[in-house]
Symmetry: C2
Subunit: 224 residues, 2 copies
């Protein structure tokens, strides 16, 4: 019964699903499991092959970590999206370590990496899909890296927001992204994207009413 | 005549060359040019599609740049290797800007990006080759990013080497990578890889005799 569920979901999520043989489709479904990860579970840890993870509900966080335990979030994977970098036996050319945690209770379908890899070896379109998924994520990763490395944009925005709530005594900042960009000598697009990053991290909440600071302590720490 | 030369080189460098039709092979050769870039020329600049660049002699440097003009070298492309990230019309999922300069006088074969893309659309193995080339480069990029972001390993190593030449009055440091790793609380592999990065940047020369500092000023600037 579960295998029928898998097939229904894979049909939606994999553009190659209808192109591969029935026997390959069955093989992928037979090598799938439905798992629920409780909030704060570590799902993937560095180099092992944890398989292809499809998120059905909840949210996974993908990050890199230093020897001292410092983390940088690369991106989050929400319901309806999938994690490829956890399948190191599929993406053999990826040789750096990433970590994946469940950030909420998360229901996932996990396809065994070796099984997925076997089918990909027979079907070039699966390989292309897998690699393209990885490459498009790297563009996001490069963006956040550049902002942190070059501009200290995370720091400059955090500093501005911290100063602003201290100055006004309110936790909500009623400025447009355009205005903030002018204050910190940046571009509107950069401010909007970095605010989205802060919002994903739970540091601020962005709405029509303005920017509400949710975690003053982390915002202050970022500004140091 | 040049087209025969192109075909000979492509046969060596592209694992898919024999698998594609003669007409596709001819089409790629017809859309190729042999160019010599003088030292210090900027070859690729951000988002435009400069095509697939194969280096025959010389060396290209691929880097990212901040609005203020600060650069971080991601990697170098030597004779016998190729640059895919410059072909943004082939790698559509790459959306960040890279820059490519000729670091020496460099003879290159350049395949028009749109022509290469047209052939790749007909041949899944070309697409796979292109994406895998990009993904494997990203692993190198992630490594250098992590070292800079987390550990300030570039800074710590530069500081140690600067202090050491000041202390001994010699430009050559006669310590093993293992010994240096102990001094800066790192691992031998990390020191070796970072020294290789410094050597590529022309800051040091690494040989059996030891580590010779070639550019004291840049080493000192890195240590700040």
């Amino acid at each position: 019964m579960t295998q029928i569920l898998f097939a229904q979901v894979y049909k939606e999520m994999f553009p190659f699903w209808e192109e591969i043989t029935e026997s390959d489709r069955n093989y992928i479904c037979e090598n799938s499991v439905a798992l629920t990860y409780p909030k704060a579970t570590n799902i993937h840890n560095g180099t092992e092959c944890s398989g292809v993870i499809l998120v059905r509900s909840g949210c996974l966080r993908l990050y890199i970590m230093s020897d001292q335990g410092k983390e940088i979030t690369l991106y989050r994977i929400h319901a309806g999206d999938m994690c490829m970098l956890s399948a190191s036996c599929v993406l053999k050319s990826v040789t750096f370590d990433v970590f994946v945690d469940a950030e909420e209770n998360s229901e996932c379908y996990v396809i065994n990496g070796q099984a997925f890899s076997n089918v990909a070896d027979r079907n070039p379109n699966i390989k292309i899909f897998t690699l393209e998924t990885a490459v498009s994520r790297f563009s996001d990763v490069m963006w956040i890296m550049q902002q942190i490395l070059f501009m200290s944009m995370d720091k400059r925005l955090a500093m501005f927001l911290s100063d602003e709530i201290a100055r006004t005594g309110s936790e909500t900042i009623n400025l447009t992204h355009e205005q903030i960009a002018k204050y910190i000598a940046s571009a509107r697009e950069v401010v909007s994207r970095m605010l989205k990053y802060f919002a994903n991290e739970g540091i601020v909440e962005v709405s029509r009413k303005g920017i509400k600071v949710l975690d003053k302590k982390r915002l202050y720490n970022l500004s140091l």
